[in-house]
C-alpha cells in the first residue's frame, strides 16, 4: 500500500471524522472558556473524568445516553470548581488548571480501580453503532464519509453552527466575548463578568466531559488510563489554529483527525518499516508546528488569563 492509497479511500476519511469529533468537542470547550477570558488547562482532566463518568454510568445502567448525561454533568461540576478557583479566588490560571488536571487524573484512576478492580480483561460496554442517515448516506463518497456516523457525531455537526450563531449573533454571545476582551467595559454596561466566566467554565467542562465520553461510548467501548493521553492539550493548540472561531476550529480538528487517521493507517499498512511509536508522536509534532506557525498571526481574546477584580478601578 503506498502513501497515496492510504488517503484516497473512503475508510480513511470516515476514520478522520471519527477521530476529529472528540478533538472538536475539546476544542469548542476550550474556545468557550478562552472567549470568556479563562485559559482552561483543566481540560485534560475534565476529558478524562468525562470518559470515566460516561463509561461507568453506561456500564452500570446499560444506557449509553445516561452515560452521555453523566459525562456532561461531571464535566460541568469540575468546570464550576475550576471557576471557584480561578474566577472567584483569582488563582493563577496556568498552575491551577494543571492542578485540576492532576487531581482529576488521580481521582479518576483511584475511582476506576475502586469500582472495577484490577482485571486482565478490562470491562467493556457495547458502544454506539453508526446510524446511516436516510438519503444523505446514499450520496457517493460524501454519504458514507459524513452521514454514516454515530448519533453523537451528528449532534456535533449541529453544535458548530449553533455555537457560531450563539457567539456572533446573540446578545449573550456578545456579552461572553466582551467579558473575554474587556471585563471592565462589560461590567460598565451591566454584564456580570464573574457570572459570565463561571457559566462559560461550566459549559466548557460539560463539552470537555462529552469529548472524553465520546472516546469510550462511541470509539473504544472500554476505559483505559491512557484514553485521553494529551488530546486535551492538543485542543489548546487547535483553538489557536482555529483563531477562536467555531468553523475554523472545526477545520483544525478535522485536519488533526486526518493526521491521526493517517498515522494509524501508516502503522498498520506495513509500508514503512519503523517502530510504530514514531507514528504515535506525529500528532504531537504537528501540534508543536501549529503553535509555532500560528503564534505570529493569532489574536487571542485580550483579557485571556487576566483575572477580573471588580474592586479594582
Amino acid at each position: 500500500m503506498s502513501m497515496l492509497d492510504i488517503i484516497l479511500d473512503i475508510g480513511f476519511f470516515a476514520a478522520a471524522i471519527r477521530l476529529a469529533v472528540p478533538l472538536l468537542l475539546g476544542t469548542l470547550s476550550e474556545l468557550v472558556a478562552e472567549r470568556s477570558g479563562v485559559l482552561n488547562l483543566g481540560i485534560e482532566g475534565m476529558m478524562l473524568a468525562g470518559a470515566l463518568a460516561g463509561f461507568a454510568t453506561a456500564h452500570v445502567t446499560g444506557s449509553l445516553w445516561l452515560g452521555v448525561l453523566a459525562a456532561l454533568l461531571l464535566g460541568a461540576l469540575i468546570g464550576l470548581l475550576m471557576a471557584l478557583l480561578v474566577v472567584i479566588l483569582r488563582l493563577d490560571q496556568t498552575v491551577t488548571g494543571l492542578g485540576v488536571t492532576m487531581a482529576a487524573t488521580g481521582l479518576v484512576f483511584f475511582s476506576y480501580r475502586l469500582g472495577f478492580g484490577e482485571s486482565a480483561v478490562p470491562p467493556a460496554i457495547t458502544p454506539f453503532s453508526t446510524i446511516p442517515l436516510p438519503l444523505l448516506s446514499d450520496i457517493p463518497f460524501v454519504g458514507p464519509v459524513l452521514f454514516n456516523q454515530y448519533a453523537l457525531t451528528y449532534i456535533v455537526y449541529l453544535l458548530v453552527p449553533a455555537l457560531a450563531f450563539f457567539l456572533f449573533r446573540t446578545p449573550a454571545g456578545l456579552a461572553l466575548r466582551t467579558v473575554g476582551e474587556n471585563p471592565k467595559a462589560a461590567a460598565g454596561v451591566g454584564i456580570d463578568p464573574i457570572k459570565m466566566r463561571i457559566l462559560a467554565l461550566m459549559a466548557a467542562g460539560a463539552l470537555a466531559g462529552l469529548a472524553g465520553a465520546y472516546l469510550n461510548l462511541a470509539a473504544f467501548g472500554s476505559f483505559t488510563f491512557g484514553i485521553i493521553s494529551g488530546r486535551g492539550w492538543i485542543c489548546l493548540a487547535l483553538v489557536v489554529l482555529g483563531r477562536w472561531k467555531p468553523f475554523a476550529c472545526a477545520g483544525a480538528a478535522l485536519l488533526f483527525g486526518a493526521v491521526d487517521a493517517f498515522q494509524l493507517r501508516l502503522q498498520t499498512s506495513g509500508s514503512v518499516d519503523l517502530p510504530y511509536q514514531l507514528f504515535l508522536a506525529l500528532p504531537y509534532v504537528a501540534t508543536l508546528i501549529v503553535v509555532i506557525v500560528n503564534t505570529r498571526f493569532a489574536a487571542a481574546p485580550a483579557a485571556l488569563m487576566e483575572p477580573y477584580d471588580p474592586e479594582k478601578r
Binding site: 517502530p275 504515535l280 509555532i292
Partner: protein, 357 residues
C-alpha cells in the same frame, strides 16, 4: 451578594505556615477517600507513616525517591522565577536518562570519567531539550505551556521507539535499554540502602541553586525579570537572554534527575523510568513557595506519600492511585492557601449596576 478579596496585612508566619495548612487539608481529603474505599483512615495513615519513615530501609528509600523530585522541583522553580512555565520537566528528565544510559553502557570511556560523563551528559541533554521551548518563547513568543507539553509526549514516544527498536534486547525481546556497565553504577554511601550519588547531586543542587538565586547577579536579574519584565528591560537587562539561561538551567536540573534514576536506581532505561517526576516537580516547587531550601521537605512529603501509599495499598486494598490524587489536591490546596494567607474573603451585597470608571 458578591465575594470580594480584601488584602490582609502581610504576615511572615502566615506565609510560612500556609504550605502546612495545605498539606493538612489534602491529607483530610485523602482520609475521606480512604473511608470511601472502605478502610480505616487512621490505620491507613499509620501504615503509610511506618512504610515511609520507620527504620533505616524505609527512610533511605523515601529519601532516594525524593531525589528526582528535588531536582525536578528545582527545575520548575528556576524557570518560574523568570515566569517561564516549564512543564517539560518530564521530557527533559527522559532525555537525561537516555543520555546517561547511552554513555553508561559505552565501553570506550575511561572508568574514572564514566560517572561524571553520565552526569554532565544528562544535564546537557536536558538543557538542549529545554532550549527548544526556551528559544521559541524568547525569539518567537511561542507559548511555552503547549510547546513543553508537546515535547513531553514527543520525547516519550521517541524513547518508546528506541526501547522497542535499536535498544531492544535481541535475545529476550525485552523492551529495556542495555544495562549500564558496573563501573557506571553510581556509588552508594550507605551499604544496603539506595542512598546513591544521585541523592548527593540533588542536595548539592539545592545549595548551588539557593546561592545562585540569592547571592548572584544572575539570580537577582531572574527575580527582576520574573517580577517586572518591563522594569527589567528599562534597567538594561536582556530579558530574553536571562529567561533563556534560566530555562537552560531548568532543563539541566531535570536532566540530572534522569541521570540519578539510571545511574542509581534502574541501571538502564525502562518504559516506566519516570512515574511523572517531571509533573510532580511543579507541585514540589509550589509547595516550596519557590524557595530552593523548601524544595527538600516538599519533595520528601510527596516521596513519602508514594512509598507509603504503595504499602498501604498492599495491606488495605485502597487503590495506590490515592497518591496521585493527594499530589494534585495538595497543589490546589497550596494555591488556595497562598491566596487565603494574603487576602480575607468578604461577602458584599452587590450593587445592581456598577458605574463605569
Amino acid at each position: 451578594m458578591r465575594i470580594a478579596l480584601e488584602p490582609r496585612p502581610p504576615s511572615r508566619w502566615r506565609e510560612v505556615l500556609m504550605p502546612f495548612a495545605a498539606i493538612a487539608a489534602s491529607l483530610v481529603l485523602c482520609g475521606l477517600l480512604i473511608i470511601i474505599a472502605g478502610a480505616n483512615p487512621f490505620q491507613a495513615f499509620a501504615i503509610m507513616g511506618e512504610a515511609a519513615f520507620a527504620g533505616k530501609f524505609a527512610i533511605t528509600e523515601t529519601v532516594a525517591r525524593a531525589a528526582p523530585l528535588v531536582l525536578t522541583g528545582l527545575a520548575a522553580l528556576v524557570a518560574l522565577r523568570t515566569r517561564f512555565w516549564n512543564i517539560g520537566g518530564e521530557g527533559q528528565l527522559l532525555v537525561g536518562a537516555m543520555a546517561a544510559a547511552w554513555l553508561g553502557a559505552r565501553g570506550d570511556i575511561p572508568v574514572p570519567l564514566l560517572v561524571p560523563a553520565m552526569i554532565v551528559g544528562a544535564a546537557l541533554a536536558g538543557a538542549a531539550l529545554a532550549a527548544i521551548p526556551g528559544l521559541l518563547k524568547t525569539r518567537l513568543k511561542v507559548d511555552e505551556v503547549v510547546s513543553t507539553l508537546m515535547l513531553n509526549f514527543i520525547v516519550m514516544y521517541l524513547m518508546m521507539a528506541l526501547l522497542s527498536g535499536p535498544w531492544k534486547d535481541p535475545v529476550t525481546g525485552w523492551t529495556d535499554s542495555p544495562d549500564i556497565l558496573m563501573d557506571a553504577e553510581f556509588p552508594v554511601f550507605w551499604a544496603g540502602t539506595r542512598l546513591h550519588l544521585g541523592v548527593l547531586v540533588a542536595v548539592i543542587a539545592v545549595i548551588v541553586i539557593g546561592i545562585v538565586l540569592k547571592r548572584t547577579s544572575f539570580g537577582l536579574a531572574m527575580k527582576v525579570v520574573g517580577e517586572n519584565p518591563k522594569a527589567a528591560h528599562h534597567a538594561g537587562l536582556d530579558v530574553g537572554r536571562i529567561t533563556f539561561f534560566a530555562v537552560l538551567l531548568s532543563g539541566a536540573l531535570a536532566g540530572l534527575a534522569g541521570a540519578g534514576e539510571v545511574g542509581g536506581t534502574q541501571f538502564q532505561v525502562i518504559a516506566s523510568i519516570s512515574p511523572g517526576f517531571g509533573y510532580a516537580g511543579l507541585v514540589v516547587a509550589m509547595l516550596a513557595r519557590l524557595s530552593a531550601v523548601g524544595v527538600i521537605p516538599a519533595a520528601v512529603f510527596l516521596a513519602a506519600i508514594t512509598t507509603g501509599a504503595d504499602e498501604m495499598s498492599r495491606q488495605t486494598g485502597v487503590p495506590f492511585f490515592i497518591a496521585d490524587a493527594v499530589q494534585g489536591l495538595s497543589l490546589i490546596a497550596v494555591l488556595v492557601a497562598m491566596t487565603l494567607a494574603r487576602y480575607r474573603i468578604r461577602w458584599r451585597p452587590s450593587p445592581k449596576r456598577e458605574a463605569a470608571s
